[in-house]
Symmetry: C2
DNA sequence: GTCGCTATCATACGCAGGTTTGGGCATACG
DNA sequence: CGTATGCCCAAACCTGCGTATGATAGCGAC
């Protein structure tokens, strides 16, 4: 019965071998790739899956708690979607898990369909997140290729300053600003100022010394 | 003991008069303005507070459930932060509430401090949300003031097209595009193309007929 | 019908953006 | 020491943008 819509890799972290086994057999029977870990440390030590993936994580673990780990993951640039499961859950724990960005929070025992639904949602979430992450990584690589001066010029240009104003602010001649600006456009592979502005927005690049009138 | 950091108005919706009364006295003693309702319908019928505000909402209500109401609120442009409270909560209910965007989910009975903390967090959230809402409202008003043609020109301009290209796409002469473009800048109160691009981003204005190479 | 708004276009001027060519200076790396 | 890189500037040139000024035309409101 392989009716999986979005195939992918599910990493299961649970310190109970029996739980790992039953979840594993369920997911595998549906066509998912499954990797099993007994602790968050073991998971971190392993390689990341290349394909779409998610995490099924027990809240109560011997080492680091599943909640703490979820919160830690949320602080990363690229967070894997997490499905939390627990045998002894309560409402405050659920609140904390969901706040940390968990896709779902399932109290044991749960139906097969509940877990499958949560895993499916998590893999679907990873689809979009992964694409966005790749884009922002590429953008960051381009931005890192700029020289310090070019970054300064870019920050001022995307705030809407004219070359003349940029030159005054950086104590340069206008022609120099034009050259830097041209370099920025080429290195960032921006085909228009509008493009560059959107890239800067996504990178969080802006001039701190200016108080903007809008946004 | 008025040690409130962010004063504001708390609307309490609970069908139990006793609960309303006790929550009310607690919040009032801390300096909050409190309004009491016995149903979501009664809340909707009343005026919205002008100041910073939040909602304390019982999950189990006689009419519309608190969860449904929270989900409905979340679909609005400007959603009031909600603190959910319940006497008979479980984990799936908590998951649903938090997914709907609730700030907190408190099982009864709760400590005074728990409610106060949640209300404080909700009011703080409303601070930022309210400012952002005002800005986007203002922006929308300006955008609505554009003529259809001006909106078309704006959409193409912020994607990075030159006047010449915009003219070709709309089958106009370049000078006409320039005039429309000037009108757009003036009506949107944008001081630079960069400003206009950011405004368009926030408004969700973009040209659908073009496949963008980035973002 | 007249007023006002929208939309269209033309000519022309001034300013801003962008590139090329060419040059000078400092620093870092081998 | 030579080379590369980053940074700076200038003259010249082309293109694009923005704004007058002026003119025509359709359309809805009063």
């Amino acid at each position: 019965m392989t009716e999986t819509l979005t195939p992918g890799c599910v990493s299961v972290i649970d310190d109970d071998p029996h739980v790992r086994g039953s979840i594993s057999s369920l997911l595998r029977s549906c066509g998912y790739e499954v990797r099993l870990y007994e602790s968050t440390a073991a998971y971190l030590a392993a390689d990341r899956p290349e394909t779409r993936c998610c995490l099924v994580l027990d809240v109560r673990l011997s080492g680091e708690s599943g909640l703490e780990f979820t919160e830690k993951l949320a602080r990363l640039a690229y967070a894997v979607p997490v499905v939390l499961i627990t045998g002894h859950g309560d409402i405050p724990m659920t609140v904390r898990g969901m706040r940390a960005g968990a896709v779902d929070f399932l109290p044991k025992p749960f139906d097969d369909d509940q877990l499958l639904g949560a895993v499916e949602a998590a893999l679907l979430a990873d689809l979009g997140r992964r694409a966005e992450f790749e884009r922002s990584l590429q953008l960051q690589r381009q931005y890192d290729g700029l020289t310090p001066r070019e970054k300064e010029v870019m920050a001022l240009v995307v705030t809407g300053l004219m070359n003349k104003q940029v030159a005054a602010r950086l104590d340069l001649s206008e022609i120099t600003v034009k050259i830097h600006r041209g370099n920025v456009m080429r290195k960032m592979v921006a085909q228009s100022l509008a493009d560059l502005v959107r890239m800067a927005e996504q990178l969080g690049v802006r001039d701190d010394s200016i108080h903007r009138y809008s946004i």
